[in-house]
Point group: C2
Chain length 299, copies 2
């Protein structure tokens, strides 16, 4: 299971009830928070996503619309008595900012906060998934992320499960490839009741960047790509000046990279209606959608 839920799809200035960047990735049984603009904890509450289930937070860069909600979220986790460790992957200066603010407020968090300075390559690896980061092209140090399932759970065969009378409590183990042993010693081989599924899925998050071919190489073949498109195509000059992309540029990356589907976001607050973003993006890459707040996109 790999999915992304959009909490904020707007760029720096809030407008039209759109919020600054933030999204939640569901990967196996984990929730990852990616970027954390001001108001992210309010958006989490609005969409009934439990703060306590987030154990890993990724911050792309230190422009405020991507992290000004982080201190509030961390503080709230502390006030709610969180004890589980929280991992934070971000540009190194963020540690100084957090430590300073905790210090002046006399706050001692009741949970371990593990800080990981971002660097090129694998930043998180488990048996089931992996997160990679690579550099985007922005005014300041800025990172893109790829979330990848390493193996996909097997599909259960309902008929066979009934036939062999396997208790439902064991279904999760079957999905992971284990065989079932009855108390009397009989063993039902996993392959008898499950089928393999396709290879693990991959989701890439690329925000706040100039157009650059090398991004397409980095996200080659991912199933779902979120790419910033701050402006419509007629404002390409402005986009370049501000180290951002247009619809057409985002869609071109998707096309060259051969991804399956594209989501565009980080819309400038100069646009009230977003229809043109969809039109322009689809002209270059048909399987494109707007990243809409509150919506979950299954990869």
């Amino acid at each position: 299971m790999l999915a992304v839920t959009i909490l904020g799809n707007n760029s720096a200035l809030q407008a039209y009830d759109r919020h600054p960047s933030s999204q939640v990735i569901t990967l196996h049984d984990q929730l990852f928070l990616v970027d954390c603009g001001e108001g992210t904890q309010t958006q989490l509450a609005r969409y009934r996503i439990k703060r306590s289930r987030i154990n890993n937070i990724f911050i792309s860069h230190l422009h405020g619309d991507h992290y000004f909600g982080l201190m509030g979220l961390i503080t709230s986790m502390g006030l709610l008595g969180r004890e589980n460790p929280l991992n934070l992957y971000a540009p190194s200066s963020l540690k100084t900012i957090i430590d300073l603010q905790l210090e002046v407020s006399g706050t001692s968090l009741p949970f371990p906060l593990h800080f990981h300075s971002l660097q090129e390559g694998v930043v998180l690896h488990t048996e089931n998934y992996e997160v990679n980061s690579f550099k985007a092209f922005h005014r300041i140090e800025c990172w893109a992320f790829i979330f990848r399932e390493l193996k996909s759970p097997r599909r259960l065969d309902g008929e066979k499960l009934k036939l062999y009378d396997i208790p439902a409590s064991f279904y999760e183990d079957l999905r992971r490839g284990e065989s079932y042993a009855f108390p009397d010693g009989r063993i039902i081989n996993n392959e008898l009741v499950t089928e393999p599924t396709s290879k693990g899925k991959a989701y890439a998050y690329v925000t706040d960047t100039l157009y650059d071919d090398s991004i397409a190489a980095s996200v080659k073949g991912v199933d779902l790509l979120y790419h910033e498109a701050t402006y419509l195509k007629d404002l390409e000059e402005k986009a370049v000046k501000r180290y951002h992309c247009t619809t057409t540029q985002a869609a071109t990356i998707a096309k060259i990279a051969g991804v399956h589907r594209l989501l565009v976001g980080h819309f400038s607050s100069k646009y009230e209606k977003l229809d043109e973003f969809e039109n322009e993006t689809r002209q270059v890459f048909p399987n494109s959608d707007l990243a809409l707040e509150g919506v979950s996109y299954r990869v």
Copy 2:
């Protein structure tokens, strides 16, 4: 004209669509922002208060629910091209926090940001108003504020204005006590067309504090007192442990100080309904109200 509009009346954990501390004081033609919890810029937009009209911001202390919205607000002002100076009155560490965050984001604000470290006494003084600060009793350095009109504008007499045929463009000058000279040299003495009003009003903001008699002495006789009441009276022990007040304590301060009216706020998120806050406060000090978000209270 002295009034306060509540933007946030809740304590640290957001709940029930109540927001962290923030309020806007209208004093003569100025808007002052007092505290700036996360989401304050969203609340300003919600209640159609123009960010650009705020030239002075006061931060009581550096717990996040009183200032985590500040960086977002300042950054937005910059993105919107503000040029007017912004004055910030706050505990000195806030300057380090702001400078660090501007530096890592490579932000150079297009307007002068004047930082004033808070200290006991007059922090801002003009011909028409004055702001004083004094220390509250909290876990960390925490300031209370008194906003005081120094003289009240005179009341215009509509009949007389008509009689003497004075142009409307001069009304503001009349309110300030000036006399009107016709182009032909005739002078209409101010007293002929205006009347004096009562003495200047005063509003006090006291948040995040233990109960202490000396607060009553500091806010003696103000017209409107906002005082924190984080808990109902049965949780006095908890209130003391957390350096906060109960309803009864806030009302007792109002009573001893002989203020005209009391507003209570900074409600703990453990309470969904607030009726008991009103009941308990009024038992001690009848002219009390809850500070409700979006409501303006004229002093």
